[in-house]
């Protein structure tokens, strides 16, 4: 197969980074990104973009750690380069605090982030309701600039991007040899995956430029993540809620919870409210599938279901998806030669 035609469905963090990995590792491929939404209107645009992993119950820890390491290494290099501000990637330090000491004091990712250590007594004094804490330095991206930066990189490698609502993966079989499904929460409808469910998150993005450190409650519900221009305050974890409309009662609740962690936020200005649906799943669906109808086959690589942890593992899963695409190409070339025989 001279120039395999690969379609990537989805233009969020996973779709764009997967398309880029495919273009980087498979120069002979012609890659096209198809999505009904592009930044700033994707679900990823709402994400705070902090590299603090979410644990997938159904994926082996060593695999998650590998994805995390690859993502961290990739972003670390960008944050250290002249492109950091354009890509929206920067280092941020802070604290994860717990009201009750967690069972696992050392999470699997403690040696991937920088300078991980328990908080000192003096540091904990700032959080009178919390008994235990962890201090570390990690990476954060502002998703809208990062997505734009990924799009720019894609255009530079010749990848085409089109606004198009794909209703069914099969509709692509005549134009493309391989389809990569990075539809995120859209996969629920696109491929009818009942195991994929939304976890609704409401966040506030506020102007509070004196907040330089992140603070996260270990329960994952309350967090303060300083971005380039705004600080993201969160949040909620509402399983099975599909509503994209901000809820005013929730807004007040998030603001109050964050102010109790960081009182200076009372002076925050210009509060913007956003809602996202985390594409949650027991494990990330990262696997090949072959769709076939009437003797015609369409190889598919799925890469969706990253839930709350998309940013933390996106590059790692993108690389794995690209590897699966190369397997699909090899399989296609194998069957082509068989056909010739």
């Amino acid at each position: 197969m001279a120039a395999p035609n690969v379609a990537v469905v989805g233009a969020g963090l996973v779709g764009l980074s997967t398309a880029l990995c495919i273009a980087e590792t498979c120069p002979s491929c012609s890659v096209t990104v198809l999505s009904d939404q592009f930044s700033p209107n994707t679900m990823s645009d709402v994400a705070a973009g902090i590299l603090i992993p979410h644990t997938y119950p159904g994926t082996p820890i060593h695999v998650q750690k590998q994805w995390l390491k690859e993502t961290f290494t990739y972003l670390f290099a960008i944050s250290n380069s002249a492109e950091a501000s354009e890509a929206g990637i920067h280092l941020v330090s802070g604290w994860q605090v717990f009201k009750n000491t967690p069972k696992e004091e050392l999470p699997f990712w403690s040696d991937v982030v920088l300078g991980f250590r328990p908080m000192s007594k003096a540091e904990l004094q700032k959080f009178p309701q919390h008994r235990f804490g962890q201090a570390f330095t990690t990476l954060k991206c502002d998703c809208p600039p990062y997505l734009l930066w990924l799009e720019k990189r894609l255009k530079a490698t010749g990848v085409q991007m089109y606004t198009r609502k794909v209703a069914d993966l099969w509709e692509l079989h005549s134009e493309y040899n391989i389809v990569v499904n990075c539809a995120g929460i859209g996969a629920h409808q696109l491929v009818g995956d009942e195991k994929l469910f939304p976890v609704r998150g409401q966040v506030l993005q506020v102007h509070a430029p004196w907040v330089k450190n992140f603070i996260r409650d270990g329960d994952g519900l309350t967090y303060i993540y300083p971005g380039i221009h705004r600080v993201t305050l969160g949040g909620t974890r509402e399983k099975e809620s599909w509503s994209l409309s901000p809820d005013p009662g929730t807004t007040k609740d998030i603001f109050d919870r964050c102010c109790s962690l960081e009182p200076s936020l009372r002076g925050a200005q210009d509060i913007m409210v956003k809602v996202g649906l985390r594409p949650s799943r027991w494990c990330v669906r990262l696997q090949r599938e072959v769709l076939s109808q009437g003797g015609v086959k369409l190889p598919v690589v799925h890469n969706y279901g990253h839930g709350a942890g998309g940013f933390s593992v996106h590059r790692g899963t993108a690389k794995e998806a690209a590897r699966l695409v190369r397997e699909c190409i090899a399989a296609l070339q194998g069957s082509t030669s068989k056909a010739k025989l």
Binding site: S79, A82, E86, I89, L114, G115, A135, T137, I228, S264
Partner: protein, 347 residues
């Protein structure tokens, strides 16, 4: 009892507030005036980034270490209060970088979470093989000085925008106590060969993605002569100039080049940062802070002078401890004048 404070930088205003807070209740007749030729945002304090961090070594000036600690603890205590934003006070974490191992600083237990850098962190800073990470405080004088001014004005303290030419000028006017917080130009009121300008220059840029302070150190070139990057609430300060004895307050093109090239080498992403301001200032450098009483006489008049100047590059860092010490000196003056009976001043 009339008190004249000369100087409205961080030292003058905080000393004025500290004294007024502690003694106005005891001495209802206390009248305080602040005289300054330069006021915020044109003081030396306004140009500083505002990072709380003492020099690497206190050179045996244990007193200064105590003042620094007192200041840090005082500011930390204010962190949760509603005034924090107005004061320009916030926590900030960051890096101190060295080309060789160095002993831990006197302030390692004052700041929060002090530790050495890991090898992976040092990868961020090629050319540096050793370093520290800690969380400290920022106190931006462009907000802090107006906040202090507001507190003082509410207390009835009067401000005079005027250059005081001599102690006699204010003492002859019926002032009983003069608080001398004149910083680098204290020599104009009373010669002090030990006081020298430590000229600095900074470039202020828009780089809101920078969330940490980064201070490099070059043991040979000396303090502040190595690049540093300090993110404020609006602008990020790039610096790394210390010229002893240089009184020039004009920006130097050569220093601009030095700062810009060195800081961009340290943090490549700064190349894309937009330059907003450039400023030069004179650190009031002295082998040790002059914080003491003196009786100054002129003809029939005499005034008690409390000197509080010579804080070099650690004025913000030490200001509250020094203000408290000056207030204790003031208390002993009151006792002598039998205006108040106070418990023995603590050292």
């Amino acid at each position: 009892m009339r008190v004249a404070v000369i100087g409205a930088g961080v030292i003058g205003l905080s000393t004025a507030l500290c004294i007024h807070e502690q003694y106005h209740g005891l001495v209802p007749s206390l009248e305080m005036e602040v005289y300054a030729d330069r006021r915020t945002p044109h003081t030396t304090s306004d140009g500083a980034a505002g990072l709380w961090q003492p020099y690497l070594s206190d050179h045996g000036n244990l007193q200064e270490t105590l003042w620094n600690k007192e200041t840090f603890d005082y500011l930390l205590g204010h962190l949760g209060s509603p005034a924090t934003k107005e004061m320009g006070l916030f926590l900030i974490s960051g890096y101190n970088l060295f080309t060789q191992p160095v002993p831990d600083p006197s302030w390692k237990n004052i700041v929060l979470g002090f530790r050495n850098l890991t090898p992976k962190e040092l990868e961020l800073f090629p050319g540096y093989s050793y370093g520290w990470f800690n969380t400290a405080l920022m106190l931006e004088c462009r907000r802090y000085l107006p906040w202090l001014t507001e507190r003082l004005t509410q207390r009835g303290v009067k401000f005079f925008h005027k250059k005081v030419e001599s102690f006699q000028e204010v003492s002859g006017d019926g002032v009983d106590v003069v608080i001398n917080c004149t910083g680098v130009r204290a020599g104009e009121l009373q010669p002090d060969p030990e006081l020298q300008p430590g000229r600095g220059q900074v470039i202020k840029v828009l780089a809101p993605w920078v969330k940490h302070f980064i201070i490099t150190h070059n043991i040979e070139s000396g303090i502040y002569n190595s690049p540093y990057v300090i993110p404020g609430s609006e602008l990020t300060v790039l610096g790394g100039i210390y010229q002893h004895g240089n009184w020039n307050e004009e920006n130097s093109a050569q220093d601009h080049k030095t700062i810009w090239e060195n800081c961009c080498r340290l943090l490549p992403a700064l190349q894309k940062a937009k330059i907003i301001e450039e400023w030069s200032g004179l650190r009031p450098a002295r082998p040790c802070v002059r914080l003491e009483r003196e009786t100054v006489r002129h003809g029939h008049f005499q005034a008690e002078v409390i000197h509080n100047y010579g804080h070099g590059g650690f004025g913000i860092t030490s200001h509250w401890g020094c203000a408290m010490a000056a207030a204790r000196l003031f208390g002993s003056i009151l006792q002598e004048k039998k205006l108040a009976s106070l418990p023995q001043p603590r050292l």
